[in-house]
Amino acid sequence: MIAARRLVFATGVVALCAWVLLPIYLIALGALGGRAAVYQWPKSFLPVDASLSTLGAFLAVEGIWHALINSVIAATLCMVFSIALGAPAGYALARFQFRGQSAYRLLIMLTRAFPLAMLALPLTVSFIRLGLYDRPLGVALVHTALALPFAVLISSSLFMGIPRELEEAAWVFGCSRLEAFRKIVLPLALPGIAAAAIFAFVISWNEVFAASVLTVRERTLTAYLLTVLSESPVHFRLAGGLLLIVPSVAFIFAVRRYLFAMWGIANR
């Protein structure tokens, strides 16, 4: 009886793992299957002659590299902005008691209840006026609005985890607030800040709607894929999908430890 129940439990866990992994395996299979796999019917579920030729052909299409570079630029800028604006706010939330603190927290959570369409549409008009339209910088600004709340929450939970006493000890020994922060807190917080930065990067890298609305020629990878989707052959679509998936999954793997810190804090 117990053995049977354990078997059911284990089967459930394995089945759910398969449910998550299978679509990724299959898109990789389709993207790496080479010329033969594209026209094969019925399809084989094993990588018979996997090759990078489809992916290579995809990367050789005009505009892909350009879009890829734009994506990296926008995501990097988004990362820098989110940390530059978010980490100080996170530090303030973690270290000070002040009026308006809970109002600020609420505001941060509320921004998550805003549909992106609401922001991106009028920004098209403003950005044209400001010369930010159709530039990775403009896309990065909108993405920062998405990523900033997460950067604030992650960094505040980080700074809370660093004992205040360490900082106070540094003040006693004559460090100014800034020095104490730079010499004591920052080195301890750096890995977590890097994690928050990577989240921001991934949020920007994955975003489709704003990137598509705010660009015409200087498209990011997601925007480019969306616009050429309907006229692309199947294996190119799959190659594009795989190209989107691989970096972000690798990045999230690197920072998986910090995923839960953020949401534990957000609910308190």
């Binding site: 978010g86 002040f98 549909p115 922001l119 309907s230 799959l238 989107l244 999954v249 998986r256």
Partner: protein
Amino acid sequence: MTSAAEPRAATAAPAQAPRGAAARALRAQALPYLLLAPSLIFLAVLFAVPFVQTVLLSVTDGGRLSLANYAKMAGDLNFTLSVRNTFALVLTVIPVQIVLALGMAMMLQKLRFARDIVLWIWTIPLAVSDLAAGLAWFAILQDSGYLNSVLYSVGAISDPQAWLSYETPSTLFLGIAAAEIWRATAIVLVILVAGVQLIPREYGEAAEVFGATPWQRFCRITLPLLKPSLQTALILRTVLAFEVFAVVYALGGRNFPVLVGEAFVWQHENQDYGVAAAYAVLVMAVSLAATVVYLRALRVPREQQS
């Protein structure tokens, strides 16, 4: 902070120092606000301003107040369809995701080995772009895709079947729902797992001592204490689900109109910003209404808040 600085200023300061100490105390008081200011200003500029602009854009027509954009939106062929499709998706996807994520979180609690690796695998879709998720499911469901290959090899079909065309709206809907469930259950799971970790183990152990079955413990202890996390997860997921767009586009193209997709078409192709704004306001209103409902329905008692 201030309580530590003020007494020192009052007692230890010699004749000329009070001004400096007071200034320092003031600065310490201002510091948190200075640290928050950049992010606040940024969010104000990128949230408040576009918000007002969108609302204005939607209710003006040629510089005058009018509801013409809304009339145009409601009169469009795809409007009713996109409302119905979006709501059908949200109402199908969210309950499945909540139940699935709750089940997964409970399984993780019982798991005795390989917990970390299982947790990591289950959270992989979190990193996957909605466009890429749509494309992964496209690989499975397209005419010469993997689903048809399996059906063919077991003899269920003899020729490739179309699942995603406009002639098969129900399977197209199921495909999109599956892709959405696949992609976005991970975020619910992460929020719930973080919430479960905050529940003291003693509660469950005490209930076990008094003879509560696992199911009773789940219903009477875990679920009520998980309410704040459930609330967060529901709000976040519902808002994002009403914004569903890229998954739909990757799987069905224009065959399955949804609200944000229509906003995109009006903005990008028809260049009619007013109607696009009207759609955006509609999505916003629906999201806000859902948020209010959740806040009411899952009210967290005061003592559980901090």
